[in-house]
């Protein structure tokens, strides 16, 4: 752990951290839009489209609505982005710099809260009733998916032999057991909600509440939020890969890892494009009953397997 501070800075800013994950994230955004377009019989945007969007937003004017709390309104996006970058840094260092860093699973799970929190706080501080609705929906969505997500994490912890160390979890059995597979399914559903895409794009439902918490954002802060969303599109599939699919791998195995990532991304996009948006009460119900039941079965099986020494459970 004797890493110098400037190495931290380098890791944080460039390689597994900000710049690298931003590039991957923007690519993921493009893949998302392109695949969506192909599903809808369209051509889709050019490769650099996400970059153009960001550059343009950065150049544009920043507006401040009168009812907003200026400080919170402007700084919420930064906190969200910082949390996302930190999560990307943790996950990236586990997957790319196997030996240099270790990460902690619970820390990671909590860091992944920060982006949603930023959206909630930002929406709430914009002084707009419609974005307040969006904030409340995002919070309700967190409450909904938190329960199964925590259970899935617990399942992973049991299966990996009670370790919280991400490196050990990567080396663990992942989804290669009944409980692991169920937990993978649960996590995938939760990731859909964490990304706030259809069928769980309830907080930002454009046709209901005009993009919810983001209603009042423009220019640079909006660009930061968009960057954060791009990062999440990189982080969350990577999170699933790290926990369940044995990480990205080393050397040539990395190609397989990239394949895993693209596959997960496409699954997310496919779910997004073949479902309508749920209502918030339906989403909460869905998570608290069906998904939690599934996650409970997973955790129960994992505990049983642990107690009786059955490795395939």
């Amino acid at each position: 752990m004797a890493t110098d501070w400037y190495m931290y800075l380098l890791y944080f800013l460039i390689f597994p951290g900000f710049i690298f994950s931003l590039l991957v994230g923007l690519l993921a955004v493009w893949i998302d839009r392109k695949v969506t377009a192909r599903i809808q019989w369209r051509v889709g945007p050019p490769l650099l489209q996400p970059v153009y969007d960001l550059v343009k937003l950065i150049g544009k004017e920043v507006l401040l609505p009168v009812g907003a709390q200026p400080l919170v309104f402007l700084f919420a996006p930064l906190v969200g982005l910082a949390g996302a970058v930190l999560a990307a840094f943790l996950l990236g260092s586990v997957n790319f710099l196997q030996s240099s860093f270790v990460g902690d699973l619970i820390v990671l799970v909590y860091l992944l809260f920060l982006p949603s929190l930023a959206i909630i706080i930002g929406g709430s501080a914009s002084g707009n009733p419609i974005s307040a609705i969006g904030s409340s929906r995002e919070m309700k969505l967190i409450l909904a998916y938190e329960l199964p997500l925590a259970l899935a994490v617990i399942t992973v912890i049991i299966n990996a032999g009670f370790t919280l160390n991400l490196n050990n979890i990567v080396a663990g059995p992942g989804a290669a057991s009944v409980s692991g597979f169920l937990a993978l399914l649960v996590t995938l559903i939760c990731v859909q909600a964490k990304l706030a895409v259809v069928p769980f794009d309830i907080p930002e439902a454009e046709t209901e509440i005009m993009e919810g918490p983001l209603v009042e954002y423009s220019g640079l802060p909006l660009a930061i939020f968009k960057t954060m969303e791009a990062l999440l599109l990189y982080i969350l599939p990577l999170y699933v890969i790290t926990l369940f699919l044995g990480g990205l791998g080393e050397g040539w195995w990395m190609l397989l890892g990239v394949l895993k990532y693209v596959l997960l991304l496409v699954i997310i996009i496919l779910i997004k494009n073949t479902n309508p948006r749920l209502r918030i009460d339906q989403a909460v119900n869905f998570f608290w009953t069906k998904v939690t039941a599934l996650a409970l079965i997973a955790a129960g099986l994992a505990a049983l397997g642990e107690i009786y020494g059955v490795s395939w459970l």
Partner: protein, 629 residues
Amino acid sequence: MLNQLDLIMPLAIVLPLFTGILAVIVPSRLKVIKELIVVVTLVSLLIGAVGLAIAPNQELLWGGLRSDGLAVFIFFFTVFFAAVNAIYAFGTESEAERSNEFFAYFLWTIGAAAGVIFSTNMILFLSFWGFLGLTLYLMIGLAGPSASAAAKKTMLITGGADAFLILGLAMLFLLNLPGESVDGLAALMSNAGSAMDLWSQQPVSGTYGVLAFLLLSLTAFSKAGALPLHTWVPDAGEKAKPTTAAFLPGSLDKLLGIYFLYRICTEIFSFSASSWAVIYLMAIGALTIISAVMLALVQHNIRRLLGYHAVSQVGYMVLGLATLNPIGMAGGLFHMLNNAIYKSALFLCAGNVEDAAGTGELEKLGGLGKLMPLTSISMLIAALAISGIPPLNGFVSKWLVYRGLIETGEAGGALWIIWLLAAMFGSALTLASFIKVMHSVFWSTPSTRINLEKIREVNYFRTLPVLILAGICIVFGVAYTYPLYTFIAPAVATLEEFVALNLFAAWNAAVAAALLVLAVVAGIFLYWLFDSLKDLRRVPTWVGGSVHDPERAYFPGTEFYRTIDEMPLLNKIFSLQKKGYFDVYELFSGLSLSIASYFSNSHTGVLTTYVTWALVGLIIYLFVFMGMW
């Protein structure tokens, strides 16, 4: 064995008690004097606390008093929170009508708390504990007629718990007696002195052992405010003065209750991690977390909501202590400390808001963020800390509790999954209810239901304490190794063992915090680069082209979770709760009233009847306790 340090303990008890009396008798015309008394007392106590703190591993003894690393730690923070609250009280109480009484009770509370912390003699402990209940009642009652019901409820619940304590201690006393001594009064008397020692590490078995454990733990729960004797906390939180709420249910009672529980788990009793007692404690902890936070979610009064959180957070501490492994216990104790920090900050902020806006009802507040920037920022930090958002202190202690729970899981069993789940889910619910508070009070559309023009930031006496506390939230979250190694490690295990656990290999909070700060600074730089922050164009709120009328068009925090409140099952639970079905006080007051009416029939007013009653009682007493059966 007597040395100067030992003397600090009796001094810590006696000094505040006496100066408290001084504060009462000082005529209220001499305003400065009583405040001076408080300052002098606190300063001298702080010096003493520091004196103790530099020798944390020493076991000190003086009469029935004893101190170790934990006691010193608790004492230090008792005085610390007292000092912070005293600063705040200068801003509020010195002008108040019964300020003499307030400062007297305040000092007495500190003295009695020191007594509870240091005494190992049952009688001493019991009397200090009982005295604390009294000062609690008096301090809540100070808030005026509106608080009298809350004070009465507190008195009855803590008083009832004191009865449990007496019974429990009596049983413990019997257990402490050497094997044959139950035979006769003489033997009893000769062994009484040593049997009075509280720290006797009894096993939790046999009728007396189990009962004593249950009764003592219930006492600790009632003080800390865990289920099922928690119901006084929200009432007191809502009705008492902000200082009282922040000092007593907010910080001191947590410290003492959890301190006592820790003693129960380690010194008074001893049981293994596979004991039923662990499951009992864990269940109480998990239930406390979830049920209290669910109730907090639906509260509409800011301080009542905080009161429910004061209950809910106790669950984490109980969970942490019940793990019985160093990480979990350290987590539990650290959470106790952290909770005291941010809960005081939250109660004091709530007090600021109430004072400035004249109301604590969330529906009436709104848009205070720009008017009260210091309070709002402090409250935001404290709220994020209590929700366990990294890199703040609440996250670290929760994380330790989780790790402790997972470690118990490694030892076997599957119940820990439920406890861990309750803890993690409770965390999300906490965040939800604080988003509601922050939105309602500070962020939402400026309210037209109160006069916003008159609202401005409160005086420095009242913002300084919350800023200090919020600052500590950040410091303890980022540099958490410091409090853990300085205060908590000596209490839980020897320092070397603790370091050997290598708790922090996986999470370097300082680096993470530095990186977070870096990101935010980079952001500020970006803002500066692209837009001079001052010249942002201000535009009306966009609600689709129509004029935004803040009077009608707003979405208050109280509406945030209606979807969840109104889900079929929860709806029923909440409506039952509103009727008081889950409140021990309400249940028992109904029960005891009916019983009392039965008994009142026997009150004939004739002397002979009473004599008969007394005789019957005496006979029963002799039979039961003197072994005459």
